[in-house]
């Protein structure tokens, strides 16, 4: 292999290293950015869904309160609308959330809550305040605390996801660090090999020629390999021989 090819391959190796690690780092950084966006989006979505569910339950509670305590039957339709809003939000959460087990306690509490309220509507009797305070309220608190727990769970899972993001950030920077280390080793090797195969022989030839021209010391440079520098040395020897023979 010629001198030009060898040096070009040396530089190409370095370029390839930098290109490849750049590509991997870019890919990892892109993934990191997508994951961060997803994490933030899912967190804010969970908060929003929880808030809407709480609002809907609150509205149901107000409507029932009007019916039971103040005996205003007209609140029937607002209760139904609030319940529909709650069910819709819960269905939306079911579709968007990956781990459905997080919603289990809400489903359970809702079933219990609906059962009690349905009983109330089925009987068509306006129950007394005791029922509202002792039976209904217990179920209401269970449902709201299940929604709040879900909200807390979403917040707590942020810690785990943040650790995952930290690991991904590590993965994103590590290719760069390793490539830098390998590049430094290659640069050192490149320097050593360039010196050994090109710089040192040129210096030897120069010194040999200088000694020959100034002090007539015979040009006797020892060299390995069969590249252009070796040929240069051979041509110089031939030239000296030609000059001597004239």
């Amino acid at each position: 292999m010629g001198m030009r090819k060898k040096i070009m391959l040396g530089f190409l190796s370095l370029a390839l290293l930098l290109f490849f690690s750049g590509m991997v780092s870019l890919f990892e950084l892109n993934r990191l950015s997508t994951q961060t966006n997803n994490l933030l989006a899912s967190s804010s979505r969970n908060m929003e869904l929880s808030r809407r569910m709480l609002d809907a339950v609150q509205e149901q509670n107000t409507a029932l309160l009007q019916m039971v305590v103040f005996e205003q039957a007209g609140y029937d339709s607002s209760f139904v609308a609030a319940r529909r809003a709650f069910d819709k939000t819960l269905a939306e959460a079911t579709v968007t959330i990956r781990d459905l087990s997080e919603l289990d306690s809400i489903y359970l509490a809702r079933e219990h809550y609906n059962e009690i309220v349905n009983n109330f509507f089925d009987q068509h009797v306006l129950t007394d305040v005791d029922w509202f305070v002792n039976v209904y309220k217990t179920s209401y608190y269970q449902l709201t605390s299940a929604i709040k727990n879900y909200m807390t769970l979403s917040q707590n899972s942020l810690g785990t996801k943040a650790t995952q993001l930290k690991n991904n950030a590590y993965r994103a920077i590590m290719p760069g660090i390793l490539t830098l280390c390998v590049s430094i080793i290659i640069v050192i090797m490149f320097y050593f090999l360039l010196n050994l195969y090109y710089t040192d022989p040129i210096l030897k030839i120069t010194k040999g020629l200088q000694d020959y021209l100034t002090s007539r010391i015979p040009f006797n440079v020892k060299m390995e390999g069969k590249d252009e520098i070796f040929k240069l040395k051979e041509y110089i020897e031939k030239l000296i021989f030609l000059v001597k023979s004239k």
Binding site: L9, S13, L16, V24, R171, T179, L193
Partner: protein, 481 residues
């Protein structure tokens, strides 16, 4: 010392590692492109560039001097361990710098100790890479690379004389070039047969290949936290016992035995000593476990005792039981076995059965000499008169080995490790065994140690793998002149 020549050959060894990194990336790709794919691919590229670079400039050399041979071998081990950390570091997870270095050195030196608390969390590509480091390290990175080296004759002999211990070299009755081919033939053959048998016994193809890689290299990395106990299958255990014992034997003798030559396993004094050690040691442990009530029957005691005896003497280090719960007698027998280890010329580490057998003969000769002061007593091994220099070197090796264990134990206990753990940690690391006792027991790992203890352990793994003096010489500045 021609550094350019050293760079060329070390580069070739690095390239071999790159091939296995790409292979592991392929495994990762086949497993739905698991998280190990990009780390393995990038590692492969980095390692390839590092390996190819010297080959661009340095022409092949037909002559390698002994000192250069030493530097190539030890340098190749160290550089292979270094590039072996790339996939781990890039993958992340439990791997920090010290853990990645520990895992890599443990793989290449075929120690098989892990610094991971949950091996099962690793993706398949990474598990395959771990097993590959064993396989590459088992045959000796350099020894293996010799096959692809285009140079012939003296070059090979100079390198192999460094890689194989003096005793092992003496046992090979073949030409230098053939040694490499025999070694590879036996190595690949054992791997292939064991893979097939393990698959038949009920493992998956993936487990069969990786377990075979670990067994033939006498490594010990497993794909499961509970090692071979995970399978709870007596057939799998019996197959592994057979191949662990086989891999602890001299590869030249295995070849001779299976090719019907006269200098076979059964005629070798050392091989007989090694096999009797397993038989007697295993039986003694089984009796102790049975009488102490550790296991309900003699048969179940024998099942676990023979597995652990074979695992420790061959320096594989697989486990089917928690040996920390065994009797003191069983533990001390196991410690003896993990010091004696397999035969020279195999992939096992430790003092080696050859040297222990030779030491017994020297002891006997010394007693005879005292009884008959004028007698001329020669020490023979396999009916061959042993050179005094060789005998002295073997004795010196044993002394150096024991002194290093003592020094190592003092240092790790100073670092806060308890005596039993410290002693067994150093013994197991220098012997390239893997599990020890205390908090490094057969069902434990090295994850809880400080980065210093982990790094210090790797030094002993390298010392053991390079037969102590191989590594020490590299650091003697005077030797370089």
């Amino acid at each position: 010392m021609r550094f350019n020549v050293i760079l060329r050959y070390v580069g070739m060894v690095i390239l071999l590692n790159a091939v296995f990194m790409f292979l592991s990336a392929g495994i990762s790709y086949m497993n739905h492109m698991d998280t190990a794919f990009y780390p393995l691919l990038l590692s492969g590229v980095l390692t390839s560039v590092l390996g190819i670079f010297p080959l661009i400039f340095v022409e092949k050399s037909d002559q390698i001097y002994t000192k250069e041979g030493y530097v190539i071998v030890t340098g190749a081990w160290l550089v292979a361990c270094l590039v072996g950390t790339f996939p781990y570091l890039l993958w992340g997870g439990e791997f920090d710098l010290s853990t990645a270095w520990f895992e890599s050195v443990s793989g290449y030196t075929t120690t098989g100790a892990t610094a991971l608390s949950d091996v099962e969390a690793l993706p398949r590509g990474m598990l395959f890479w771990r097993a590959s480091t064993h396989w590459l390290g088992g045959v000796g990175v350099v020894m293996f690379a010799l096959v692809v080296l285009p140079t012939l004759g003296r070059t090979k002999m100079t390198l192999s004389s460094v890689e194989l211990s003096v005793l092992a070299k003496d046992n090979y009755k073949y030409r230098a070039q053939k040694i490499v081919h025999i070694l590879l033939f036996v190595y690949v053959g054992i791997t292939f047969v064991e893979t097939i048998l393990l698959k038949i016994a009920g493992t998956t193809w993936f487990d069969a290949v990786t377990t075979s890689f670990s067994t033939v290299a006498t490594g010990g990395f497993s794909n499961y936290n509970s090692s071979i106990a995970h399978y709870n299958n007596i057939w799998i255990e019996m197959i592994i016992i057979f191949f662990m014992v086989l891999s602890g034997l001299h590869f030249g003798l295995i070849y001779a035995t299976f090719s019907g030559k006269s200098n076979n396993i059964f005629r070798s004094e050392v091989a007989r000593f090694y096999l009797y050690s397993i038989l007697i040691g295993g039986f003694a442990i089984a009796i102790s476990l049975w009488t102490s009530g550790t296991y309900p029957s003699l048969l179940s005691s024998m099942r676990y005792a023979y597995f652990q005896a074979a695992a420790l003497i061959s320096t594989t280090g697989f486990a089917t039981a928690d040996t920390n719960l065994w009797t003191s007698f069983a533990i001390i027998v196991l410690i003896w076995l993990m010091m004696q280890c397999g035969c020279a010329g195999s992939t096992s580490g430790g003092i080696k059965s050859d040297r222990v057998w030779l030491a017994m003969k020297v002891l006997r000769a010394r007693i005879l000499q005292q009884q008959h002061p004028n007698a001329i007593i020669r020490i023979k091994l396999n009916n061959v008169m042993q050179d005094n220099a060789l005998v002295n070197f073997a004795m010196l090796f044993i002394v150096a080995y024991l002194v290093l264990i003592l020094v190592g134990t003092i240092i790790v206990t100073a670092a806060g490790v308890d005596l039993m753990t410290g002693f067994s940690l150093i013994t197991t690391c220098i012997g390239n065994v893997g599990p020890g006792f205390g908090s490094v027991g057969s069902m434990d790992n090295y994850a809880h140690f400080s980065p210093f203890v982990k790094s210090f352990s790797t030094l002993f793994m390298l010392l053991g793998r390079l037969e102590i003096f191989g590594l020490i010489q590299l650091f003697l500045i005077k030797w370089w002149k």
